[in-house]
Symmetry: C3
Subunit: 338 residues, 3 copies
């Protein structure tokens, strides 16, 4: 693609060779001659001196420390967003399969749009609804009475249990399980546990994306609810009857125990552990690896990890243990002073 | 269902309209007119004033703060348990499939009971035994020489490696892996690692339930053992040669490193990390997110997390660092006092 | 097998009955008469007095506390390694299936070696390369343009997304997902998130082993890279654009956030949480359950967990809170001294 075309696409100002041919997008450290790259974070400005890229998207007020006459520069309002647009143009996703495989199985009374794609060895239960343009990859298992909206993508090896409901434009990555039984047992007098029936569903609203190998348990009664626009990273565990509010974003390996309600627009770091029956209000940020055991009623940032070089860590552990002795010594001194 | 029938089922005392028709069970906050709900936890008693439910199960000594003549009340010994019974009656699970699919594969020399159910695209190896009434959902992979007892439920996309043995009444949720290789490597002189053969099995006893996306590794030799009545939540990692004692219950995302033995009737919170080669005695409770590196020989409760509002957290971190200085200051004062 | 044959295999010195027949390998605590076992760790020497094993591999300088004339002893240089060799001989893995199943699906333009094994209901996309002797178990989904080298083992229910590249001698356990989308979203002015296209790949070099239910996300552009000889345990999360250096070993349930680079020969404990955009130099050891938020530039050991009996834990938490008061008291005393 001619650089002049790219200038039009990103609505930028060209400084350099307008005949340049661009073949690919690349990272500034590793880009080669036919590549276009970008500088957004000032920490990466130093690479301008050394990059082999043919062209660089920069912000309107970018001033290079070193002149590079061999590089064509395009000034734009937001180099990162313009770069993302170019990724989509240069690295188009080809359609990998289309239509309904001869080797899939669909149960009785389906309501499946004509333009749905279903991959090999996917098993679909009875009375399942699938909306227009949705795509279900190979080796998925979709239970009875499941509803899937329009424009969804369900990647391989996903399991969706009976009765769960999924909105429009939802993406679910491989290995994720939707609707497995909540973890509920009643202790019996002999010390054994009796299973508490889990007869609710999982409800996933529109525009949700769920990473790979997540598990979202069905409610005991009612629904476990993932609201509109929520984004979940990989290996996230959502227990029964949890509700996650609109546009909340949660990083990988976080676990949320039963019946907790998380507000809107929260951001939760990776590996967070959130106790059961809590309420987290809107606009809360939880640091990575936090262990949360109380409800949060004020927006803000909360933290809980603790990583140190081993020596410092052991030192601090010892210090903490010394506090009661310090207090005693102070008492002693006070007595002497009297 | 007539309320008079329900009264008989739960063996309770009716106060109110004995002709009432009940259509469903519901949570007290969201129940509607035709619903029956319950109050067990006193924290929920306040909802008695506002609930729209037609009927409420309450304990024998329940006294409402406000009279509600429009609500029919049933007094029972244990409202929660009675409610669970009603869930099973109102929300019956329908049989979702039955028999052996035409699209599954069974290897040579099977010993499979006549009344077993096997779903689409499930692949079963050679010399596999499956007991009466067991149900294997679609897209599972069952290795050679696997034994599965009676009345088991194996949900979709479960993988069971060669030679593993599973008792009666076992439930395994989707995506769980039973019998993958233990993580064992011998460091070589050139810094590379050589795989240590993992030739044991996983043995799962009767009445065990395992959540979704768990991984239970096979033993190096001998067996990784999940004893009778154990309940595992989702995303739990059980390493090679671990043994989990009878009726122990473990919450989601817990990891147990190799060769650790956990006693009977333990309760382990979510996200617990338990080191290798430890012994945990019977009747131990581990708080959520604990990081355990020593054996436990006394029953009781152990903890380890630490979550705070960011300001408090940073403050405490700074405080811990100041302890050595405090100690010095005290020394100084003592010297002055002399 | 005659014990005399075993002596030759392990290149050891026999003390005892050279006609003994050995049928199996066993752990010293549970071995029976026809078994051979080993003592390597001195903590296990005490079992020499009580073991029922017929033969024991010991180190050259082993001196029993009690004589056991009924046990045949073989002295070797490294009893553990010799024992591992015997495991492989006594517990040979039988080939569980071979050839290409009639119930798998292979897309257009494959480049698949003649001696490849593919299991039931595995779905393989277009233009896929699979090298000699590689074995893909049932129910896997391999996307378009995927390349898999020689001698690989891909266990059941693995998902490999389009375009990912896997070297030689790679083992991937069940439920693992290679190449799902990185977790990248751009916040919009209305509070919703727009998906950032993830158009890179995952590159796995030779001799890598990956445990069950791991997730390795594809890069935004370029590649997420798992270098030669890396060993990953189960349930590990590797985010987009991460690079893990040669011969690094990572224990279960660890998570590595985006764009972090880990050096060579690192050892990372279970449940570690590693932040994004960090650099960890070669030869670093991270303790289990660490929460790492800064880069590490010096080799060594780093830690971060904290587990205590509940009483001690609560006590320390209270102590930490008292530090500011202690400081004030010291000030007071100092003033008095003046």
């Amino acid at each position: 693609m001619k650089i002049s075309e790219i200038v039009k696409i990103v609505d930028g100002i060209l400084c350099g060779n307008s005949d340049l041919e661009i073949n690919a997008v690349g990272k500034i450290e590793t880009a080669s001659e036919g590549d276009i790259t970008f500088i957004s974070n000032p920490a990466y400005e130093k690479y301008f001196e050394t990059t082999k890229a043919g062209a660089v998207l920069v912000s309107e007020n970018f001033v290079p420390r070193t002149e590079r006459e061999d590089i064509t520069v395009i000034k734009v309002r937001d180099p990162y967003r313009s770069f993302l647009d170019l990724i989509e143009i240069f690295n188009k996703e080809e359609e990998d399969f289309s239509g309904i495989s001869d080797f899939c199985s669909i149960g009785d009374d389906p309501e499946i749009a004509d333009d749905v794609h279903i991959g090999n060895y996917t098993s679909i239960g009875k009375i399942v609804k699938i909306g227009s343009k949705s795509k279900i990859y190979p080796n998925c298992s979709i239970g009875n009475n499941v509803e899937i909206g329009n424009n969804c993508i369900i990647y391989p090896n996903v399991s969706i249990y009976n009765g769960c409901k999924i909105g429009n434009n939802v993406i679910i990555h491989s290995g994720t399980v939707i609707g497995s039984d909540g973890f509920g047992f009643a202790k019996q007098e002999d010390g054994t546990y009796k299973k508490i029936p889990q007869r609710g569903i999982v409800l996933i609203e529109d525009d949700v994306e769920i990473g790979s190998n997540c598990t979202i348990d069905r409610a005991t009664i009612g629904e476990t609810k993932i609201c509109k626009g929520v984004k979940l990273d990989n290996q996230i565990m959502v227990a029964h009857n949890v509700e996650i509010g609109e546009n909340t974003v949660i990083a990988a390996q976080t676990g949320i125990a039963g019946s907790t309600k998380i507000g809107k627009r929260c951001m939760i770091g990776g590996k967070a552990g959130i106790g059961g029956h809590l309420r987290i209000c809107d606009d809360v940020t939880l640091g990575a690896a936090i262990g949360l055991v109380k409800s949060i009623t004020k927006p803000g940032m909360y933290m809980g990890y603790r990583a140190k070089p081993m020596r410092e860590f052991l030192h601090e552990e010892a210090n903490i243990k010394r506090i009661p002795r310090i207090e005693e010594e102070i008492k002693e001194i006070k007595n002497k002073l009297k």
